[in-house]
């Protein structure tokens, strides 16, 4: 053990008021163990992200050099400049944005109003309707690539953003309804009643009183729907064929040619595709967790 480590350990020990021969208290040992494992886990998990990130900053020459470097000799944003200049990455990014935002708006709107009604009212077939909407999210999308391809081709909207938007509502809408229903279940019904006593109509009460209470739920639903749509690959691959509608995940996969992969530029494209996920993950983790928990566990 090195001396710095010894003094650090020594300092911690004296801070805890332990004499040299005294054993660490169980709580401390347990926590140190937890920290050690968690930090190791985080380092291992983040290493690939770090590696692809530094790859995106390396020159194409350095990427192809052995031995592999773990700190770029020359960091450059040239790869990022290249993909926007030589490939239609601005268009891909725009396609991804349009598709993800529109899908999110549709799913959050329908999910919120229906989720509220499913939470508050009993009506003919409400249980079985909710059950089938929720069961629908278990249908594997991959199973439906043939019918979706046929339908979009039949409607003449193959290779359009509309085809992707319609398709993405298929797995996001049931999820949105379910999360929102569970969030509204947590909003006390007495608030509805109070609003009506105060002279609000059903709609006014819903919009003015209940919706503000449901903001965290709406945020969670919106963030998850956005991430799911932004990241989607399979349908984007099946339903598009050119930059008219191709989204970033497909664009990134296009760097893989039969016998050659342009890793430096792929890494740059991959980082752009990953950016919203990383930002949402780092700054809105709370909403992702609450949305997933509401959406999954409350069966």
């Amino acid at each position: 053990m090195s001396t710095t480590n010894d003094t650090l350990v020594g300092r911690v020990r004296s801070h805890l008021g332990l004499s040299t021969d005294e054993e660490w208290p169980a709580v401390v040992r347990e926590r140190l163990f937890a920290y050690a494992v968690l930090v190791l886990y985080v380092v291992v998990v983040w290493f690939p992200i770090y590696y692809i990130f530094i790859t995106s900053l390396k020159t194409s020459g350095e990427v192809l050099n052995t031995p592999v470097t773990f700190f770029p000799h020359t960091a450059t944003i040239q790869n990022y400049v290249d993909i926007f200049a030589n490939r239609p990455f601005a268009t891909y990014t725009m396609n991804s944005l349009v598709v993800a935002v529109t899908t999110t708006v549709i799913c959050v709107t329908l999910g919120t109003i229906s989720g509220y009604t499913f939470s508050r009212f009993t009506f003919l077939g409400n249980k079985s309707l909710l059950l089938s909407i929720v069961g629908a999210r278990m249908i594997p999308p991959i199973a439906l690539i043939v019918p979706f391809f046929d339908i979009m081709a039949g409607l003449g909207i193959y290779n359009t953003q509309i085809a992707l938007i319609l398709t993405y509502t298929f797995f996001n809408l049931p999820f949105a309804v379910w999360i929102m229903k569970n969030f509204f279940d947590g909003v006390p019904e007495s608030l509805d009643e109070q609003a009506q006593i105060d002279g609000c109509s059903r709609w006014e009460g819903f919009v003015k009183v209940i919706l503000p209470m449901a903001k965290p739920g709406i945020a969670a639903t919106a963030i998850l729907a956005f991430i799911f749509s932004w990241n989607e690959f399979v349908f984007a691959l099946v339903l598009t064929s050119s930059e008219a509608a191709q989204t970033l995940p497909v664009a990134v996969s296009l760097f893989v040619a039969d016998d050659f992969v342009d890793w430096a530029h792929l890494a740059a494209g991959g980082m752009i595709a990953a950016l919203p996920g990383i930002l949402f993950g780092l700054f809105f983790q709370r909403y992702i967790v609450s949305g997933l928990t509401q959406g999954a566990v409350k069966e």
Binding site: E30, V68, I113, L129, I142, A143, P147, V177, S253, G281
Partner: protein, 304 residues
């Protein structure tokens, strides 16, 4: 009564239909109809020349399941085996790791929020990007894994991860575990927070060891979360194409071909929508069978 009041009354009377019917219609059009189309497509075959579809009964299923010399289609058996290994190993490893990390994160640690954030990120990246990232990690000459092993002097010859069937499957499983463990962590962590602390403390006072406390106190409360986490993990892995397609594309040879990549290849690459749809039905039925079995086996919890 003013017009406005009448409008308010009418809108209120129609509150339920106005809020539910749009969603119901949407679901009908975008989920129910495509699913029916799937069944229809699976019973039809497309003429490669004219593009006309003709009714062929169960022939597509017969081809996929029983085509070939033996009783079963050998491809079907092989790819089912790959799918079972892929799903089985990925789910098992991510569950074990996820449970461990979730239990550590459930401790009252300073900086827990940061650790949780750091742990979750892989799951919110595009699967394609993650798959390609791991392909880059496993790249024999330029990838980080051989780079680290070689530079540490642990290997003298670089390992050809993706040109060996077994290694390629291991690479797929590692990528899959990397992507989906955060999901398990999130769900189980939420479940762990439902375990009453007093009960835990009481068990500790009574002298119950760590393992006894886990089985008798934690597990009963965690069971619903475990069920959900496992179900969603298994179901999502059966259908998973993204990582497989960009990391190995079912190769080398067809040694990592799973149901999802087989389905995509059949329907899109080989342009046989009938057989692709039949495979889709197989995936669909399997999915719901798995859910039914899991809920039958583990669904009842004394605490639910």
């Amino acid at each position: 009564m003013s017009d406005q009041q009448t409008l308010r009354r009418t809108l209120d009377r129609w509150f339920i239909p106005l809020t539910v019917v749009p969603t119901a219609l949407w679901v009908l059009g975008i989920i129910v109809y495509p699913t029916l189309r799937l069944l229809w497509s699976s019973l039809h075959s497309r003429n490669a020349v004219t593009g006309d579809r003709s009714f062929v009964g169960l022939q597509n299923f017969q081809q996929i399941l029983f085509g070939g010399p033996g009783l079963f289609n050998p491809d079907f058996l092989t790819y089912t085996g790959h799918t079972a290994v892929y799903v089985g190993c990925s789910v098992t490893f991510s569950f074990v790791i996820g449970l461990g990390v979730a239990m550590l994160l459930n401790k009252d640690l300073a900086g827990r929020g940061w650790l949780r954030t750091a742990v979750i990120v892989p799951w919110v990246l595009p699967y394609v990007m993650s798959g390609l990232m791991w392909r880059w990690m496993f790249q024999p000459q330029l990838g980080a894994i051989n780079g680290v092993l070689y530079q540490l002097g642990l290997i003298s010859d670089r390992i050809a991860f993706l040109s060996d069937g077994t290694m390629a499957m291991i690479a797929l499983i590692i990528a899959d575990v990397w992507v989906f463990t955060p999901f398990i962590i999130i769900i189980l962590l939420a479940g762990l927070q439902n375990v009453p602390k007093q009960l835990h403390d009481a068990a500790e006072v009574d002298g119950a060891g760590q393992i006894a406390r886990f089985w008798n106190v934690t597990y009963p409360f965690l069971k619903p979360s475990i069920l959900v986490a496992l179900t969603i993990r298994i179901v999502f892995d059966i259908r998973a194409l993204d990582i497989v397609w960009v990391l190995t594309q079912g190769g080398p040879g067809k040694q990592t071909e799973v149901w999802a990549s087989w389905l995509y290849r059949t329907a899109q690459v080989f342009n046989q929508p009938g057989q692709g749809a039949a495979l889709g039905v197989v995936v669909l039925v399997t999915t719901f069978a798995v859910i039914a079995v899991l809920y039958k086996a583990f669904g009842d919890s004394p605490y639910q």
